[in-house]
Symmetry: D2
Amino acid sequence: MVKVGIIGSTGYAGQNLVWLLSQHPYVSIDFLCSHNHANIPFSNVYPNYQGFIEKNCIDIQSGIARLSKIDILFIALPHGKSFDIVEKALKVGVKVIDLGADFRLNDPNVYKQWYGLDHIALNHLKSSVYGLPELYRSTITKASLVANPGCYPTATILALSPLLQESLIDFSSVIVDAKSGVSGAGRSANIPNLFCESNESIKAYGVGTHRHTPEIEQELSKVSGQDMIISFTPHLVPMNRGILATCYGSLTRHIDEKDLNQLYKDFYKNDNFIRILDSIPETKWVKGTNLCDIGLRIDNRTNRVIVVSAIDNLMKGASSQAVQNMNIMCGFDENEGLKLMAMAP
Amino acid sequence: MVKVGIIGSTGYAGQNLVWLLSQHPYVSIDFLCSHNHANIPFSNVYPNYQGFIEKNCIDIQSGIARLSKIDILFIALPHGKSFDIVEKALKVGVKVIDLGADFRLNDPNVYKQWYGLDHIALNHLKSSVYGLPELYRSTITKASLVANPGCYPTATILALSPLLQESLIDFSSVIVDAKSGVSGAGRSANIPNLFCESNESIKAYGVGTHRHTPEIEQELSKVSGQDMIISFTPHLVPMNRGILATCYGSLTRHIDEKDLNQLYKDFYKNDNFIRILDSIPETKWVKGTNLCDIGLRIDNRTNRVIVVSAIDNLMKGASSQAVQNMNIMCGFDENEGLKLMAMAP
Amino acid sequence: MVKVGIIGSTGYAGQNLVWLLSQHPYVSIDFLCSHNHANIPFSNVYPNYQGFIEKNCIDIQSGIARLSKIDILFIALPHGKSFDIVEKALKVGVKVIDLGADFRLNDPNVYKQWYGLDHIALNHLKSSVYGLPELYRSTITKASLVANPGCYPTATILALSPLLQESLIDFSSVIVDAKSGVSGAGRSANIPNLFCESNESIKAYGVGTHRHTPEIEQELSKVSGQDMIISFTPHLVPMNRGILATCYGSLTRHIDEKDLNQLYKDFYKNDNFIRILDSIPETKWVKGTNLCDIGLRIDNRTNRVIVVSAIDNLMKGASSQAVQNMNIMCGFDENEGLKLMAMAP
Amino acid sequence: MVKVGIIGSTGYAGQNLVWLLSQHPYVSIDFLCSHNHANIPFSNVYPNYQGFIEKNCIDIQSGIARLSKIDILFIALPHGKSFDIVEKALKVGVKVIDLGADFRLNDPNVYKQWYGLDHIALNHLKSSVYGLPELYRSTITKASLVANPGCYPTATILALSPLLQESLIDFSSVIVDAKSGVSGAGRSANIPNLFCESNESIKAYGVGTHRHTPEIEQELSKVSGQDMIISFTPHLVPMNRGILATCYGSLTRHIDEKDLNQLYKDFYKNDNFIRILDSIPETKWVKGTNLCDIGLRIDNRTNRVIVVSAIDNLMKGASSQAVQNMNIMCGFDENEGLKLMAMAP
């Protein structure tokens, strides 16, 4: 039985993590921290847990005081908030899975450039592992600090890695047009996220400036072996959950659709959570799961390949990927607690 | 291991039943019948099941031919379609859980009046049991044919039974104003259920004429011990799932809210799936679960009690209640395969 | 040309009022006040107005300073905020249409009881007129201060008045189960109104305690000639706009549906914005209009009548009704600027 | 007063055209044809028109028989259905605005290739004019047959024309990632368009094969002066209305964002319905209008320009653009009947 604590347990990703961990056969939750809801029953904040989770939320300091009682700490906080906590956890031998952005970018200068903050935990940054199991499974096994990937990066990197590894597309040609449900904006009370503001409309945002861009570029560069710069445009879609990433690249050589489909299947042959489809994915078929669905088309007219991937932003894009990482770090079956099918409709 | 077959497996309720049964630890699915999708992989109709369920759908005749290989048959067909199938199943000793309406009304004349059909399986009607475990658990244990309750009746009967058993309200005063998500209308292609027709609007329908009315009245009458006639008005709400039943009754004697709340808790003290809240329920907190949340208020100004219940129409209102019935019939733990929390948001 | 000012112009109702007034042939807008957006172009707050409305918002004090330049002042503020403004406007001979709640309840004790505030403009309260043109057209003609009705009261009073005037229902039997789109909650940034919190769910709220209850009772009592107490339960529906009020009453004598329909048509024969339907209304058919659709059914089984009314909460439930009142006060054609059909889908 | 007839008046675009024409000051509607709803009151099909439009729908043959009584015929039918009708109308001197696809592609071979049909009105194809007023205003003035543009082409061509005319982007680099509300799929009863199938999900469709592709290429080629081939990927978004087109191109020379913004403003300086924004557009701000909002960003990192345009697919993407064309053909003020602001929220 692994003992865990969660800091940031009442944000959308955090509470989804609680949903998963509370049902995991080998996990015991020691504490749930929430800045906004300290000393309130967790199931008052999220009544779906009534009758299932009886714990009160505690404040972050109280959580830190209990670090010695746990094996793994999950952090789901806004960027810039985890440096100190990570330091304290690692010091007492607690492994950390950070769902935030602070340890995803290897280069602290890039971090500063996009997040506007100095990185003040450089030693831990060096030893941190980017927690995308499909690419880094063996390293994650030995990691003490895992930086759980962002939602858009997860969908994008999984969609493009096979193409890049085979140098099948011009590395400078990559355009990623991504669409996310509103839960990606978090649970903070602000006007643009009100029902009446988001409903019945679609918009692009952060055009050319979204913070997931350098994260995507870092990882795609590692796969391709060259420094890559991409266009990334996120959009907000009036639905609760889901990310669809539509990725474009110019083919460097001829390949037919069937062979490319097979190449993807081969690339992910050891990965239970990737489904290579013949059709084009829809987000609803992966909702509430750790799955990433991928479909692709070759457009001979334009000599481009279009790869479309779909994930649940709060699951494979956050909480269930964190559990997948935990499973790997703890030597559990990677699927443990994650054998989830979407519920239709 | 119990072997089951499902007839009507590609409707919304039917496929949700497949979702549940495919994950049930003591169940093995023998066949999935679908009139519209025979000989097509089930996971082509519902791609969420890709990688999980590899069976093809078969036609109903092929399903009937396999009756001897199963222990329990689930039927999820429109009314009037199950008479013959039930007959054949029971004959070969297969127990039946019918999610349709054909065996819910004890009086065949009432069936004819509201459904416009002669009931042609009167002998089985007599032995059938109304599958609401909270009221009929012990009878369900021994049943061969269980009539799984309708979605609106489930929400309504659970909301009102404690009041009626205690004669706390005037039996002629009951008004039920219910609201359902669009999945309640099924998966048939017709214009009123198109996205653009249902979205951004609410309407009442079947005012005074909905077929769930006599089912509700039959069961409320049994609880109260008197023939009851109620007002029942269903509404269509632009959301996929969920039923909220707002029930009104005139108090026959004074009781304060706290005591009434306790009375409800006592009434359902052996029922794991009923949550008596201090607050007023919302459908989202029971989505994807077998739970029924109930909240109540006494309005001293009008001397009325207002009881609000929330269920997932496809789950406690159909498929998960069917599994609950199966668990009881098979002597399994009643919670088996049903320990489900709603996923937020 | 009538010169108007609007205080509270950037709330949902306020800006919808601007939408209407800016297109009204006989109106010139002098100023738009907004507490939160003072000195910002109105069309920055609502980009739909870009190219149409070039004014900056001004603060409330600046608006008050311009009272002498206008003929009519519209106020769309939370309750308790308009006492002082009304005083100042009336003093300089400016007529006022208050979309807030401060002048709707004739009895200041009832106001205090439900709103928790002392009413500090009692003299103006006495001379104020309840702005429901279908009931008070002639009085509105001469009014200096019109209290524009609440959204739920508008839908409910219009649905029930013909029945009450004819004493066709038991006055103590009235139950109103109402459903509103999320815009009814206003544009303030709070968590329950976030997209992910309101979407895909329905809930009741303010059961037995909603502040529109005494307003409804006051007006129904006037129509019926007796003090009436009703049950009123509002619900929140995941859609932007619309109110559906489902109203129940016990018939005091037999009447058939056709005759009752005719009685409603007669009652509203001079009212252009009331449509008495043969069918049951849906909110989408009145969206963006000043219409109130009414449909009714007699349920002989229960001896109850069910009347369903549909309005757009921001229009007939707020802004377009305010314009209708203005038209009457100014002697314009009552339909001026209000000949609006819903746009489908 | 111009007399018009509409064939295909009960589809989503057709009925929106009726909405517009019925309020147009210089238009009198002679007939409304509907294959599915002949001899039924138009306002039975769309109850929003109750009290406003009293006409019955007539069948298409009856409409054709009345051609001599009208000046302009609007056709809103599926492709392949208008050849014969156009022939008959033009023969008797009736001008035609075809909202369908049959006269948009100048090359009948391209038509055959993408639509799978022989074009059997080649003479009229030659004289037809592509009805995008911002590009072809003067030709439309004299046209007898106007091919009203498709919804995606309208949004795309308006977004890219200024760039192409100035050769600011590599013509082979154009990628258009477009998102549409569900009304774009029309009002036919099929399962993928059911509420529960479209709601809470996003998908790409017709990847590399959508029929609007050659239409976009034809028009972009005319503007650029070279044969262009583009990538075009449409997506389905869970909302009723709206198209957002996110367009990517590689810059051929340096230009800064401010200058490019000005270049767009200059390009469209005579076009009342184009709004060049500083921000990035959202579909809600153009809903229910003839507007096209355009915003743009230069991404110096990738040397790409991203242009985002937003229209209402049923309005500027269909019906209101048809009215704009009619205004031009008839010599009316181009804005007549089209001075529409979006209603928020």
